[in-house]
Subunit: 403 residues, 2 copies
């Protein structure tokens, strides 16, 4: 059996994702589609609008055969670390290709960019380091570095968030010489950051915005998502009574910061370079999450970076816990969140060749490796009413979702 891999967040799963799956199947002729998905917290440092199980169900009902969870240590990270975890997860499960969306839909600019970068690695690194020392944010600094090594017009436009991610996947595959073919699918016309739903292919950003604002599944939203997603969105809301947003976590985050000594705050992953002082100081005035981030934000500390450290603060994740995992040569395990009959068939055939443990739930005597996942889930569900929280967390200790 031939499998292709997708790297996803599905927040929520929408028609653009259906298109992506179909195009990936066409491009690769794969029998099995495997998605590695962020769990309850996402790459840009946000809680997912609905939990990973409901997102898994929507994906399985819409063309994905296996949903794997990207471990927390890789999920809430910059694009390179995120890619490292995702690509290695897919490599361990044995995909022969990875299909990702890009602006152009052509793989050669990615490969050209990789070659250019490899040929100028020293200049790239020096420029990056210098720009960071000047107080620039990481995205700005890497833009400077790419400019310095003259990424040619035949190369990719790294101002586009999706191209940055795609480039990270390609780098990870090629750097590690993995037996995986990188393939890219041309993105449909909607932009990543669009805030309006303008057609049946809408950005996840615009769908989330409307969901939160309207607090219901409007006709426009329903036209932009498969029926399966609509059902899962509604089903999750019936349990939790809301869709997740950062603002709902503000009281918990604020309480945490105000009861943490500075030294303790400085141990949280992402609270670097004395940022703990700024976080504590601004907390005294903050009355909402958005206002708080605005108060912390500077040229150097981007919104996304601050959001990410807030996730780590919410989950009480120390720098030392993260680095011990992300510095491993590969992922420590592969966790199956859900699968179809095809997925089960694939896994059964493949099982013996997989080198890392395959995990399907958090054992109550969870190994240290799963502690981060357990805490992340408890943190995610902590805003639910007590009875709903108990119900929601149960899935963590059960087997995977089978469709």
């Amino acid at each position: 059996m031939k499998a292709t891999g997708l790297i996803v967040e599905y927040n929520p799963f929408h028609n653009g994702h259906v298109y992506h799956i179909e195009e990936s199947k066409t491009a690769t002729n794969a029998d099995c589609t495997i998605a590695v998905m962020s769990g309850n917290f996402l790459q840009r440092g946000e809680p997912a609008i609905i939990d990973k199980y409901h997102r898994t169900k929507a994906a399985l009902q819409s063309g994905i055969d296996i949903v794997l969870e990207l471990p927390y240590a890789f999920a809430v990270q910059n694009s390179d670390i995120f890619a490292h975890g995702a690509v290695h997860t897919l490599n361990e499960i044995g995909v022969s290709s990875i299909c990702f969306g890009s602006e152009s839909g052509s793989i050669s600019p990615f490969l050209n960019s990789y070659t250019t970068m490899k040929n100028n690695e020293d200049i790239y690194n020096t420029t990056l380091k210098h720009a960071l020392a000047e107080g620039k944010s990481f995205p700005e600094a890497s833009r400077d570095a790419y400019q310095e090594i003259n990424l040619a017009s035949s190369d990719i436009d790294l101002a586009k968030p999706n191209n940055i991610l795609g480039f990270s996947y390609v780098k990870s595959i090629l750097n590690n010489e993995l037996p995986i073919e990188p393939i890219t699918i041309k993105r449909t016309n909607n932009n990543f950051h669009d805030e309006l739903i303008t057609s049946d292919i809408a950005s996840a950003t615009s769908i989330r915005k409307q969901l939160i604002e309207q607090n219901e599944l409007s006709i426009a939203i329903q036209q932009a998502i498969p029926k399966a997603t609509a059902i899962q969105l509604q089903s999750y809301k019936n349990i939790a009574s809301f869709w997740h947003t950062w603002e709902l976590y503000f009281p918990l985050l604020h309480y945490r910061v105000m009861t943490m000594p500075l030294e303790e705050l400085g141990m949280i992953h992402g609270v670097d370079e004395g940022l703990e002082h700024r976080i504590k100081k601004t907390a005294k005035q903050a009355t909402s999450f958005e206002q708080w981030v605005t108060l912390i934000k500077t040229k150097r500390y981007t919104w996304t970076r601050i959001q990410r450290l807030f996730v780590h603060l919410l989950t009480n994740t120390k720098r030392s816990e993260i680095t011990s995992i992300i510095n491993l040569p590969t992922v420590p395990y592969v966790r199956v969140l859900g699968l179809t009959k095809t997925g089960q068939h694939y896994l059964n055939k493949r099982k013996k060749e997989i080198q890392v443990p395959i995990v399907s739930n958090i054992k109550r005597d969870a190994p240290t490796l799963m502690k981060l996942e357990e805490r992340a889930s408890y943190a995610y569900y902590s805003i639910l009413p007590p009875e709903a929280r108990i119900q929601a967390i149960k899935q963590e200790y059960k087997g995977p979702v089978v469709y």
Copy 2:
């Protein structure tokens, strides 16, 4: 000027407290009454129903001249440590007597008990240790120990909570040979644990119970408290929108426990002897504070002891932070929460003789000693709406309340 000291919680200040102040003045002929009061968290491990500033105002308007705050490290503790902090605070400020309520109203049983205990200290200690090792709770074990040394009928009945506290005050004064006369006032007829308001002298317990149940100041409550208390209760509720109860903190506490590794939980003051395992395990089922404590409670771990450790968990107070303060020979500072003209006059006259720093607010560059107080206040106010929280915390950085 001659000052007498009272050790109080005023949760809330009621007619029995007015009686206590008047009797103390009569008994001592003092010109100035000084109360050392627990802050926002109380000896039995509970959040105060209204904050320390509103309780201070009620006290100043009803006969107290100076309200001092018992530092957090001493306040949420067993009776001996609580007494150590309170007695030393009053000693530093220069009172010549301490007046406390007791069942009999006579000091000699306390002094007799002290002598009996001193004469049999080894037996007392051995019995206590043995009983604790058997798995008994501290109150039970000390009852055994008192029995073993034959506290005579001329001694005090240590089954009464107020007698236990009073005896701790006497022990602290005599053990440290402080120049303070212990005086006791006969308590009026209402029992500490009474749950019903049966006259204009009602227990604080019964008043709190009715306040929370009825969520308003009923006629019965108003008859049991001075007008000043009624005003402060209402004024605080106008800010916070509620009176504090443990249940309101349940989501924060639960979130904390579920995102703390076991080792971290074990560092919290009061989480002794592997109790962290029991706390985590029971948390998975708990849907309310009361249910949670019930699940944790055993013969050895009393309700009060569990409540105290929950306060320390809420305020993120480590064992090491507490012990470094309570093992000092005296209190590290004296903090003035409020005072009348008479109180100001007394302080001005006395100032030069006071050996420890007199503090009137938490400086923004608070010395380490005040960090616990700051955290305790933020934890206490963390359940308030954001604007109210900002308003409430301001007083911590201002001078004392002047009446």
